[in-house]
Symmetry: C2
Subunit: 663 residues, 2 copies
């Protein structure tokens, strides 16, 4: 495992490889598509556990697989291209030629090296064009949305009434279009297999676990079938962010009825960081569990940085295109135009960005609603658009020309992440008129995007005290037709700069429980500086905690398997297993070794809290030895009776004399 050692813009990014301690990457082949190799992570336990390895969701990509040849200069294998071509409706195009402005005009030693390979981009073909290849599977129960232009179950996408309604005459290529057509794609099968961790049927306890949880009206299934994924996408309740130009992707699904996901933000800025650091951070973020990564780079070299990230990323990559568009107009928000923005969307869509944050809900009339806020507009994209609206005294071009944006994104299957440009920047501003006015507009735009066949998720706040979190979730579900919610935290108090991973981890766990589909991490550096490698790890692990706590509380049918395995390891003093089953085996081991550094202690049946002489776990073992084999009593009365019998037995056998307490 290596750390990056240089700031030189021409170095090959150095990334961390190899499995986590005790783990190995394994692959299963879905029944519905045996050609797919879907990755999971298996944690091996000590032989004394007498338990099979514990399988967990794996986001780390080929980097964790010692058998995978990693060449950052070549990028990851582009395995999806063949499948995408096979289902047809796409063609290679010359694509937009990169310009110096794409990298902010960086030249000479300031220009980061371009990624060595240039791939021709794919896009949806225009009609008429022959449909190529087979369709993976066809559902009998496909259904359309109320707002869908596509009748349910019509099957062959080439026959869909895609014309009219102001939409371009393009072949359908988005997961939403396929889902509505009743077509189950490879991506859906892949995502379903991951959700089930390769299981072929529901767990015996699935129904019980679901009943034990509180899901606030979610419909988490006992077992995730590809058809369930398709149906959730068709309804707009889930998305698979999967740009056809990001064939390196290991597809995953984001939706309230699936495992809660987390996003890690990376990105260089005008003042700090380099391409190498960002590629390394991406690989580092997914190693610890990042489900998606957003590249929020600003300043120079945005294009080249993103290309290196995309070509090496097995997880969906999101961006905020307005950041780059702003660089193209020299940082002057009022100089932005729709054309510059649209050109940036095409540039990034051709590179393979999987989802775009678009702040189309920041409408002109909402801008003054923020004037009396304690912290005004804190979203960068939101304030860019507010500035533009204010400078021109005119409605946002993102809102006015939203359908054109849809058509660009649809041609590559870039998912919308409708940005909350007016999210509160302090708990004082939470749930105010500006925030909820924008959310209503996002609901309106969701339906427009769906109408254009685009996948949509909705971004949410921000800074919200605990008692106001649920209202956010409920309003989003209602306003946005159950499109997946994707929130930043929320931070539950403003008083802890340096610890906002924690102030927000609290809010994230809660909103995840209430129904949020993806949690955007917050690192300890929030509000203070750019996260470094350590911050990225702490942010990811904190948000894995929040997401998993949410899964447990919802009653996800399999979530508690890992908790229970770790608890058994803890109870049985299998230290190595306890470390390895945790989210961060290295830190756990390091903490243990600080108090009890000797290797012998890793097998010792005690810990540093109580020492070797007395151990509560040991006493419990004695209780278990005494009572464990019998059926546990059902009530206290029964237990009392049982104890009396025990005592009688004891006396009848002439057992040991009671040690009388001195009175």
């Amino acid at each position: 495992m290596n750390k990056p050692t240089s700031q030189n813009a021409f170095e090959t990014p150095n990334v961390t490889t190899g499995p986590l301690p005790g783990s190995r990457r394994v692959y299963t082949h879905p029944q519905a598509a045996p050609h797919l190799a879907v990755p999971h992570r298996e944690i091996e336990l000590h032989p004394t556990a007498m338990e099979p390895p514990v399988r967990v969701y794996d986001t780390s990509g080929p980097y964790a697989d010692p058998d995978a040849a990693i060449d950052v200069e070549a990028g990851l294998p582009r395995w999806r291209t063949e499948r995408i071509m096979a289902r047809g409706g796409v063609e290679f195009c010359e694509g937009r030629e990169p310009t110096p402005l794409d990298n902010g005009g960086a030249t000479g030693k300031y220009l980061a090296r371009a990624f060595p390979v240039r791939h021709k981009p794919l896009r949806a073909t225009t009609f008429p064009s022959p449909l190529m290849g087979e369709v993976v599977e066809r559902s009998e129960t496909g259904r359309g949305e109320a707002t869908s232009p596509h009748p349910a179950g019509s099957g062959d996408p080439s026959t869909l009434p895609i014309k009219g309604r102001g939409k371009a005459d393009r072949h359908p290529v988005t997961q939403l279009e396929f889902a509505r057509a009743g077509i189950i794609t490879d991506e859906m099968i892949y995502a379903a297999e991951r959700e089930n961790l390769g299981r072929t049927h529901a767990l015996p306890d699935a129904a019980k676990n679901l009943a034990d949880g509180e899901s606030f009206g979610a419909s988490v299934p006992e077992f995730v079938t590809p058809e369930f994924v398709r149906d959730e996408i068709a309804r707009g309740r889930a998305i698979i962010p999967a740009n056809i130009n990001h064939p390196e992707l290991e597809p995953m699904v984001i939706g309230r009825n699936f495992l809660v996901k987390i996003n890690a933000n990376i990105g260089n800025s005008a003042v700090a960081s380099s391409v190498e650091e960002e590629v390394d951070k991406m690989v580092w973020a997914i190693r610890w569990g990042g489900d998606t990564v957003m590249d929020l780079s600003t300043g120079k070299n945005i294009h080249n940085t993103r290309e290196w990230i995309l070509r090496n990323s097995p997880v969906p990559i999101g961006t905020v295109p307005i950041y780059q568009a702003l660089e193209k107009v020299g940082g002057v928000a009022e100089d932005l135009t729709f054309d510059i923005f649209a050109d940036t969307l095409i540039e990034q869509a051709e590179q393979g960005v999987d989802y775009f944050t678009i702040h189309a809900g920041v409408r002109l009339p909402y801008v003054p609603l923020t004037a009396d806020r304690v912290t005004g507009i804190v979203s960068r994209g939101g304030s860019i658009m507010a500035k533009w609206c204010l400078a021109h005294h005119r409605e946002s071009f993102l809102y006015e020309r939203f359908e054109e944006i849809c058509e660009i994104m649809r041609a590559y299957d870039v998912s919308f992440s409708l940005g909350d440009g007016l999210r509160p920047g302090s708990t004082a501003d939470a749930n105010d008129r500006a925030q909820f006015a924008e959310l209503e507009t996002l609901g309106e735009l969701t339906k427009v995007a769906w109408d254009h066949g685009c996948q949509v998720m909705i971004e949410g706040p921000g800074h919200v005290a605990m008692h106001k979190i649920k209202a956010n979730m409920d309003k989003q579900l209602e306003t946005c037709g159950e499109a997946p919610f994707y929130t930043l935290g929320p931070l539950t108090t403003d008083i802890a700069p340096g610890y906002d991973h924690i102030t927000s981890g609290i809010g994230a766990a809660m909103i995840g429980w209430f129904g949020c589909a993806m949690l955007c991490y917050v690192t300890p550096k929030e509000h203070l500086g750019l996260p470094d490698r350590d911050d990225v790890k702490v942010g990811v692990v904190t948000y894995k905690i929040a997401a998993h706590a949410a899964d447990l509380a919802k009653g996800h049918p399999a979530a508690r398997l890992r908790d229970d395995a770790l608890s058994r390891a803890r109870f049985e003093f299998r230290w190595e297993d306890q470390f390895n089953l945790g989210l961060d085996p290295e830190t756990a081991r390091d903490f243990h070794d600080q108090t009890l550094p000797k290797d012998a202690h890793k097998v010792a049946h005690f810990c540093s809290m109580c020492g070797p002489k007395f151990c509560s776990m040991k006493i419990t073992q004695e209780i278990r030895d005494e009572f464990g084999s019998a059926r546990a009593p059902n009530s206290v009365d029964e237990a009392e009776q049982g104890m009396a019998e025990k005592a009688r037995e004891f006396q009848e056998k002439g057992g040991e004399i009671y040690l009388e307490t001195k009175e």
Copy 2:
């Protein structure tokens, strides 16, 4: 500021002194008792803020006051002794002579040095005995509990019908006894003044803030009067842990209708740590906000360690006496006797311990209820008692002789912290029969303790997934007559060893919101090792976040003042103010400086996230300049109209030509 540098058992403990950055310790004098000097912390803001200093609750004691002479060898000033003597009913006694066994038989170089000064202990006098001195104040509205033996408002404690009901003939000395008698003590006045941060009347927004929150039936007042404190104590809904032998104390109140408090655990163990480290950790823990500290020492030198801690502690100190009792019988649980236990209680009560964890709810019939658990009994005290019960096949002596324990504790006003020996050690075991059977017993014992005039709080779990937390709080309130709940976390998932401050901070914030009065911290080392100094700080800060997030969500009338002040500082780029208003100014500053180390940047109106060219905060300022002086619009329609007018004005004035977007 100094760090301890030596492990030598004969060194003077080295503690951290001096104020936090930008802060100073100030004192106010309550109207009801002007002789009291009640501490607060004031955070000075930059002159450009045009705001008064922000006052926050201060737990740090004289250590943060540069004018206080700190001499760890002498201990803190024993200011309460005079007041306690003045209200009468107490007398100095010779006290129990320390024995070598009190320090686990440590001798020679292994024996930690005794604290240099030995103070004679106070205890309640037996009848008949003259009442000494005045009573601080007498309430007209004092009321008794249904279970109280003392009629309300009878005033003079010497006339109370203390005889009978199996209780010893002692003068009342506990805060509960005074409260029931309608007497407002210095401690109640002091605690009220702290809760109000020295304010003399309710804030203008108090009612609004309360109405904005969700307190789940709590009765947080707009303003805390000494009478309110008295009434809450009389009802058993709050306690002031304040042993008459801990006169160094700065009294504080624990209850659902007050600010949520946090406890920090320290303590050496058989394998690690020394006296110096523990005294330093205590001072360090309160510096960052610990409201109480538990000394959980085991192994040798327990007595001497505790004496050093108590004599230097301005916060209540709690212990688990069974830990020391176990040491006295060589670590063999079954050799414990009531006499050894009672002797340990007296030893510790005479030293000044403010609250005892007593695991009297671990009853014999509940032991087998734990046999089928994933993690059995994980409470150390709980498993000691389970082991004893099991070995003797007999009911717990703590339960059987609970009234005798009450009488010992009452004579010094040691508060009960009724221990949850059967708390779940994994989310798998949460809310099970064993846990709730014990909780019901704790409710039964609460009423017995109240009947003996003792103050009581109840300990709670542990490991509980989010959806099962509220049931714990609700059941505790119902079962234990609203006695304050004091929980360890709870941890909301088991899969993150090394990060259990976070897994538990989530649960702590939630249960604090639901009504928990005090949150026992969990450090990153939980399950792995003993916390060091850094762990203590991270644990305390995490729990301050949880407690404050809970206060905000409950709608505490003043909690948001600090959030709003910090948010304004953030918005206005007052970096120093943002650092200093935070829970940990040092870490915030350090994180900032990692990206932008130059001093100039501390006054720069930008940050490292966006850089100097573009700044969302700056744009908001422009919006505010444009709209801020006018009344903010009440609706989107009104805002739209306002914008149209603005645009007309602009055109009429021949304002700048719109930059047309290219279409």
